[in-house]
Amino acid sequence: MRNTKKVAKWEIKRNMKNKTYLIGLFLTPVLMVGFYALFSWIGGGDETETEQVDVFINDQLEIFPAIEETVEQSGFDWNLEETDLAEADMEGALEDNEDTAYLFIDERALEDGVVPVYTSEDIDQFFTNQVQLLETPIQTMQMAQLGLSEEELAFIFRGVSFEETSSAAIGGNGGDSGTAESGLFTGESAERAIPGIFAAFIYLSIVFTGMAIFQSASLEKKDKIAEIILSSVTPGELMQGKVIGYFVLGLIQTVISVAIILPILIWQVDFPFMDYALVPELALLLLISVLGYLLFAAVFVGVGATMTDVTTAGNFQGMVMMLPFLPFIFIGPVFSDPNGLMAQIGTYIPFTSPGVLIMRLSLLDEWPWVEIIIALAILIVSVWLFMKLAGKIFKVGILLYGKNATPGEIWKWIRA
């Protein structure tokens, strides 16, 4: 164990002194922030941002206070004002204005149900929809004209609502899929989603940093130092040292990313991330992340030792490198139905399990504990098994100079 620690320390030190690594360390979060800025800049116009609209109302029915109240309740960004301009003056009034609308509420509204609206050429795209809301106060006035009582009015405006109950809800399964999806950042679901996103971030950080193990595993071979190192430590210690070293490097990457990204996020998005992120659920999510890392690390260190150099990686080695990306194919199915068949399959495959579990647990209000425990058991067994296999491959592979091992040879080493 002491040797393992020494090797881990060395791997960390070696990387921290490496310019390429240091640049990557800071560039990754900076790029993330850059992409965020780029997207919010490109997507700025058609997202939730609305522009203030000056709405002038030529009120002949003395309905203005009711409209004012309706608008206030809706929270539209309207600047309401009364006006006595006539319809004939519209052309001149709108010519040089942006985001301006004139409404003429007069007898026509009561008799024909028509309200002429004149807008400037440039107007917020949501205005047409928003203006429909004024239907209610005008209709109220129409009804009042017809002589209906307050109770009758209230009854009419209660309308008809359709109460939806899904079959899952009848079965008592919670049926949370709808609510979860609709409100990632609202109320309770945020409590699930934030730790999940946080865990996913940490998971991806350490796994992607861990991909460097691939290169590191063949480094001793490439630099022909394997025998010198092995005259001091056992192959097992060397392998464990690398796995632990790159885990710490992944954590360093995470910490630096969070330190750069979080302040910007808090400044940009007004949301108490930390209050939601630091909850007990995070512990389980992090455990899943660590297990996921160990699994991939085992595979990388084992397969990495079978090649002379990353640049000479064959198809087999290249495919192994793609393994961490496997959970991405489950994103679609899991988000559309976090309890669906695909989601469950993904939960039980060791290589996709960490990713899929983190996604599901972020979406679900009630956690499927049985599935979680089975998945954890599968993961732990897989980690143990792959570590053992990697150890066997590593032991032989690290001394195999000058050629890449074929899958057949690797199989032989495993059986040896």
Binding site: N3, S232, Y401
Partner: protein, 310 residues
Amino acid sequence: METMLSVENLGKSFKDKQVLSNISFDVRRGEIMAILGPNGAGKSTTIRNIMGIMYPDEGAIRFREMNGKEIPRHKIGYLPEERGLYKNVSVMDILLYLAELKDYPLDKAKQRALAYLKKFDLEGKDKVSMEELSKGMGQKVQFIASVIHEPELLILDEPFSGLDPVSQELFKEEIRQLAEDGTAILLSSHQMNLVEEMADRLFMIHQGQKVIYGTMDDVKTQYANFKCTIRGKNDLRVLEDIPQVERVEQNEEKFVLYLSKDVHPNEWLKVIPEQVNIQELTLDRITLHEIFIDIATNKNLLQKEGEVHA
């Protein structure tokens, strides 16, 4: 002299091929013990078995300080045949890391590293990255790495390969000095002249088997018989009929007569027949180099002797 390492009846096979069989020798404190043999004879395999990088199928390897089954890694310095050092790190970093792996105190390691760098003409290179060093400089650093922790047993696999004559002298001097200071040294090589100068004892191996084992002086008197080289137009049969000639090798007009062990040179010269045409004649002993080449090319020069002493 205290035995630091003893190898007993070592045997190893790869698949069905026996690469080592019945290898036994020991290495003592303060001596230089050489393992000699052509490429592929099994030198490196023997050393890797000693270092625990491979595991022998048969036999035992014992270290003086061995408690239980553990190899006393911290007391051993090892310079493998296939060697290099991490490329993108500084000389001092790698030396200190290797010392740390041997549990050697770091402040002492740093002092020793600086002293050795100075000795090997690399003063001021301690902060230079390994990839900026020339091959020769790199080899010097590798050598320092193998001795930085003051090993009691130093195993050097082909330490001179790829070195220029100046560096060779430097290494030779240092290895001798280490032996004088009490380090047990096991060194493998195929450069016979160097071994002849340095080694106290030698173990010659061919095709995984022992050929010669003994002190340098014994080996020389036992195996290094006289040979007579004659240039001139001659009949092979006439030369073969000269007494005490065991074997004759002909290369156009050059004949090499291998003489038997108990030959007296002065007397033997007198029995050379009149009709032998001599343009040139030299009489000298067979060198280790020739023994080595004979073994490597399977000429059986030593077979007779080998069998007798086996």
